[in-house]
Symmetry: C2
Subunit: 146 residues, 2 copies
DNA sequence: TATTGTTATACTCTATAACTATA
DNA sequence: TATAGTTATAGAGTATAACAATA
């Protein structure tokens, strides 16, 4: 490699799958409701929407970021009216973070846009190809949980 | 949604595919050779390895970041000995950025680790399931280019 | 003049350490 | 003491605007 000649990009099916997934995911995430709304913020709102209210610590653990980092993200989202903090009555050290209607709306809009792009993309494929992707989705979900 | 009940997560095959890809990609990217080497830096080194030397502007365009941002990334990688800058003899405004042997090594090691995890994951599947993922990889590559 | 790369500066997201309130 | 959340502070990556060298 010292002559800097380009290497063969896909040396195996494994590499091909890795690169395909990373590229496709990047393309998909570019579609969001509001360009000022980062991926991390959308993920937090999505967790609240799909799994209900969380404490700060639970959110930080789910998104694999530190508590101070999540605290900052939550501050922004609270200021923008997308979620609320309320004190836990049973353990007053805790705060319960829940989605507002505005937060629900922004998640729905983001998912709608992503699915709109993806729907267009899928429409260019054959029925058989769409079936392959649906089966692959189930497999990837299983593997990601490992 | 104002009662904050969790929503149904997967409302369609489109949403299922979107979420599967995003999760799988996140899991995949967590595997790297050096935790101090960010995704963006690895992507730059990968471009140089798979496509040969680039100018600064070409790298910025390929990675979809601004020229000053790419300049900063290239400065770090140059300081760490992973790439070299040389002046273009034909157009002296340009610099040619090329991978060093150390840069090649770090890309190979990162890909090896990522593929090691993925290889383990694939080994848990049937031959038929692996074929499905290989076909899906080709489809995703095609769709990401849209 | 237009283009390529660079510097100056600022904003976002991330982290660790230290602090407060509560258990 | 230990835990949940927060504040203080710093580092990495990003951007736009302004500048230098060259075409």
């Amino acid at each position: 490699m010292s002559d800097h000649a380009p290497a063969s990009e896909s040396t195996s099916e494994t590499s091909a799958l890795r690169m395909a997934v990373i590229r496709f995911s990047r393309r998909l995430r570019n579609e969001r409701a509001d360009d000022a709304m980062s991926d991390g913020k959308i993920a937090v709102l999505g967790s609240l929407m799909f799994r209900g209210p969380h404490t700060l610590g639970e959110l930080a653990e789910r998104e694999r970021v530190s508590a101070p980092s999540m605290n900052r993200t939550v501050n922004c989202l609270e200021q923008d009216g997308y979620l609320t903090r309320t004190n836990d009555v049973e353990d007053r050290r805790r705060v319960i973070i829940a989605l507002t209607d505005a937060g629900t709306a922004v998640v729905r809009e983001t998912l709608r846009r992503r699915d709109a792009w993806l729907g267009d993309a899928l429409a260019s494929l054959s029925e058989q190809e769409r079936r392959t992707l649906a089966e692959a989705a189930a497999l990837m979900t299983r593997l990601a949980a490992r």
